[in-house]
Amino acid sequence: MKKWLILLISWWLVLPAWALEATPTENDPVAQKRAVELELKLRCLVCQNQSIAESDAELAVDLRRQVRHFVAEGKSDEEIIQFMTDRYGDFVLYQPPVKTTTVLLWAGPIVLLLLGLASMLLLVRRYSKSADQSNEQLSAAEEARATALIEGRDEL
């Protein structure tokens, strides 16, 4: 057990040589911020549900370093993202690109919102009509309730 553990720790400690550099963007706050923002958009493939900014997995560490190298070299966001999708596919992007297969994903919320607002309009119009009709004939109970409301006794 113990031996196995030591093996694991030592494996984990032995990072590849180029990983031993300090993070290349650490002294440039602007580049650092850009690097972190990019990392948050990239999904770690091994851990399935973490971005490479968050993950402790070795692949994430490597990719993080790669991103920082690119940022330090002055590569644009698009170039870096292209580098990642060329290798790992769209799966690596937390923000899926707009294409035919993702049209529904991006249009969905707007469609839902419009449908919601439309149905609200319809409902309000209908209810407003029935309010006009029922206004004349308040029942005794409603009358009492209305008085209560006006006096502010009945609150939400």
Partner: protein, 664 residues
């Protein structure tokens, strides 16, 4: 022996709950009082046996009975006691067991606090809850038996996933599940209303406190989960739009719509169809959340691979419960519904908008969460939908909700003069906007993108606050003392919960706008500055915990010349799993957190260190606490308080007694 008792208790509770789920429902339909009266007794009996079974499971974990497969897989002799108990709900079997158990607790609570309800209603509500319990118990016993034995018995267990070895694990799942399962009460009330065709203001008055309680639990559960992720995952995020989190957010959104819709049903006798629908959806999403996510259809690990029966069973169960109740809804909803009658400018309209917008926001989260599954199922490739997507689509919808939320409490029921509403809202609107703009410019200068975002965030918070103040002034004008007494608790609950949203929005806005982080290589003696604070690495040492080895860094937190305190982040390696775990160390305060965690080790003396300054981050959770307190405050409204105990009619008492003998 003890596991067998637990197993036996589960079987007994299944038998009882089979009675609870059938006879009272038939009794209510055919008007047989004796059968209806069985509901309470069987629910209480089920509760007893479920608690007994759960006790046995926890006992097996506490005494390290590794002959139980579930214990062997999820616990370990080195595991501290609190986590051994928490491990009882750490596994698949254990968490389903917790679910059933909490359902037993809620059923029990309904059976005890329903003295003033008509027998028929109680029979139906408990009957429906019984049917849900039957399905889950069958699932538990046939596919996920928590008491399964293994032979030969291993010398030691495999240990609980180190990520779960945290105080958060002790609190988060029970709280969250209390919320999820709590919605079963509102669900059962809704189904009972559909079955009986009767839904009136008293119905809403009964189901409202149960819904408020469940909602408060869910809010607290989500809050603990978020806070746990914040300090445990080691990089300062507090919400990740992970499918598991989305699964808890969706019932929360619909639950929020439900408590508002219930208010309209109670006060105005309308929105009945909405209320019933929302009650069904809230619980359906809870089921969907617990099972589909936990069981791995949405996330990682092919959990069903080991036993494909589980997946099919769960799907069949969901189809029956959700599909069945939606079918019932489709065919019976018109019977309970009454058309609304209100003018376009009215509180009803505002709350209708609230229902619709929260529904849309929930639909959006659902779409984003399930979209990768849709594409994969259609063989159209694998994609990820994560935070950037959700932030883009969810935040604008919530901005609309907040806008409406400010105005809502100022609008009268049924009808209001548009111009007087406008007059009421103009001042809060103008003041909030100008204050937000000034504050944003003062804090961030004229960089326009950040000014727009900050202004929007501050505006939303100020808008809620200023409209609340106007509402309070309106409620308390005149004789203050008298008015104070006259406002019902639910009014104060509303104020507190809305205030919570404002606090939450401020927290999010400030964190997003002003958080700072550094990610640097440090050796002993090095310093790094972030957000006006200096972190100095003073030492690194090896420490040994109960079941892990760790490297612990000692950092001095310095402001100006003065050392404020020491921080001790750790990188742990758990003996059983061998995976590195980050333990951040946080100096937490009302106006901001200073957060440090160890990244990767570069050489024996140097580490990548992550330091963060997170201003106002605690306000996010503070806001959630206020919301939950608001829910609880509304709950104690005297309208919901159990009226004086009428002694049950003799005839009924006899039926309960016969019910008792039937059980024996």
């Amino acid at each position: 022996m003890i596991p067998e008792i637990g197993q036996f208790a589960l079987v007994l509770s299944l038998i009882l709950v089979l009675i609870q789920g059938t006879l009272p429902l038939i009794g209510a339909a055919k008007n047989i009082p004796a059968w209806m009266a069985l509901a309470r007794r069987t629910a209480q009996g089920t509760f007893f046996f479920l608690i007994l079974a759960y006790g046995c499971l926890i006992y097996s974990f506490v005494v390290n009975d590794f002959s139980v497969l579930n214990v062997a897989n999820n616990s370990n002799t080195q595991l501290p006691l609190a986590y051994r108990i928490a491990a009882a709900w750490g596994s698949h079997e254990g968490s389903i067991m917790l679910w059933v158990c909490l359902l037993g607790i809620w059923s029990f609570a309904v059976s005890v606090f329903s003295r003033h309800l008509p027998e028929e209603m109680v029979a139906r509500v408990l009957g429906v809850m019984g049917l849900i319990t039957v399905g889950l118990l069958l699932f538990l016993l046939f596919t996920s038996n928590p008491f399964e034995r293994i032979f030969p018995m291993p010398a030691d267990g495999r240990d609980l996933n180190p990520l779960l070895q945290d105080p958060g694990m002790v609190l988060h799942p029970p709280m969250l599940y209390m919320g999820y399962v709590g919605f079963s009460v509102a669900f059962s009330f809704a189904v009972a209303a559909l079955l009986s065709g009767k839904l009136d203001a008293t119905w809403a008055r009964w189901s409202r406190p149960w819904t408020l309680l469940a909602w408060s639990f869910l809010t607290v559960g989500i809050l603990i989960g978020s806070w746990w992720a914040y300090y445990e995952l080691g990089w300062g995020g507090w919400w990740f739009w992970d499918p598991v989190e989305n699964a808890s957010l969706m019932p929360w959104l619909i639950g929020t719509a439900l408590i508002h819709s219930l208010a309209v049903t109670e006060k105005r006798g309308t929105f009945k169809i909405w209320t019933v629908l929302l009650a069904i959806v809230a619980f359906s999403l809870s089921l969907l959340g617990t099972f589909l996510v936990r069981s791995g259809v949405l996330t990682s690990v092919h959990a069903f691979a080991t036993d494909p029966r589980r997946g099919l069973f769960i799907l069949a169960f969901l189809a029956l419960v959700i599909g069945g109740s939606f079918a019932l809804f489709a065919f019976r909803a018109l019977r309970v519904g009454t058309p609304g009658a209100f003018k376009p400018v009215s509180c009803e309209t505002a709350l209708l908008g609230n229902n619709i917008l929260l529904g849309v926001s929930c639909g959006t989260v659902l779409l984003g969460t399930l979209y990768p599954l849709f594409l994969d199922a259609l063989n159209l490739g694998k994609i990820s939908v994560g935070p950037p997507y959700f932030e883009k689509v969810f935040v604008p919808i919530m901005a609309l909700v907040v806008l409406l939320m400010g105005a809502g409490p100022l609008i009268r029921w049924k009808e209001m003069d548009a111009s007087s509403l406008f007059r009421k809202l103009a001042i809060p609107f103008g003041v909030s906007f100008i204050a937000a703009l000034l504050l944003a410019i003062m804090l961030k200068g004229f960089a326009w993108t950040s000014v727009v975002l900050l202004t929007l965030g501050f505006f939303m918070a100020f808008w809620i606050l200023s409209t609340l103040i106007v509402r309070l002034m309106q409620a308390l004008s005149g004789d203050l003392a008298k008015k104070l007494r006259r406002q019902p608790a639910s009014f104060w609950g509303m104020c507190l919960a809305h205030l919570g949203i404002a606090v939450f929005v401020i927290g999010v806005t400030v964190v997003k706008g002003f958080e700072a982080e550094r990610d640097v290589k440090m050796a002993i003696g090095d310093t790094v500055e972030v957000g006006g604070y200096t972190f100095k690495l003073e030492g690194l040492e090896a420490v040994t915990g109960a079941n892990y080895d760790a490297t612990r860094g000692t950092f001095a937190l310095i402001k100006g010349e003065k050392e404020l305190r020491k921080l001790y982040p750790e990188k742990r390696i758990y003996a059983s799993h061998g995976m590195p775990m980050t333990e951040a160390s946080i100096d937490s305060g009302i106006f901001g957190d200073r957060y440090v965690s160890l990244g990767e080790q570069l050489s024996p003396e140097s580490w990548i260190v992550r330091v963060y300054y997170k201003p106002f981050v605690t306000w996010i959770w503070g806001g959630c606490i206020l919301m939950a307190l608001g829910g609880l405050l509304a709950l104690i409204d005297r309208r919901y308080r159990v009226k004086t105990h009428h002694p049950a009619p003799i005839s009924l008492m006899r039926y309960t007694l016969t019910g008792n003998t039937v059980i024996k």
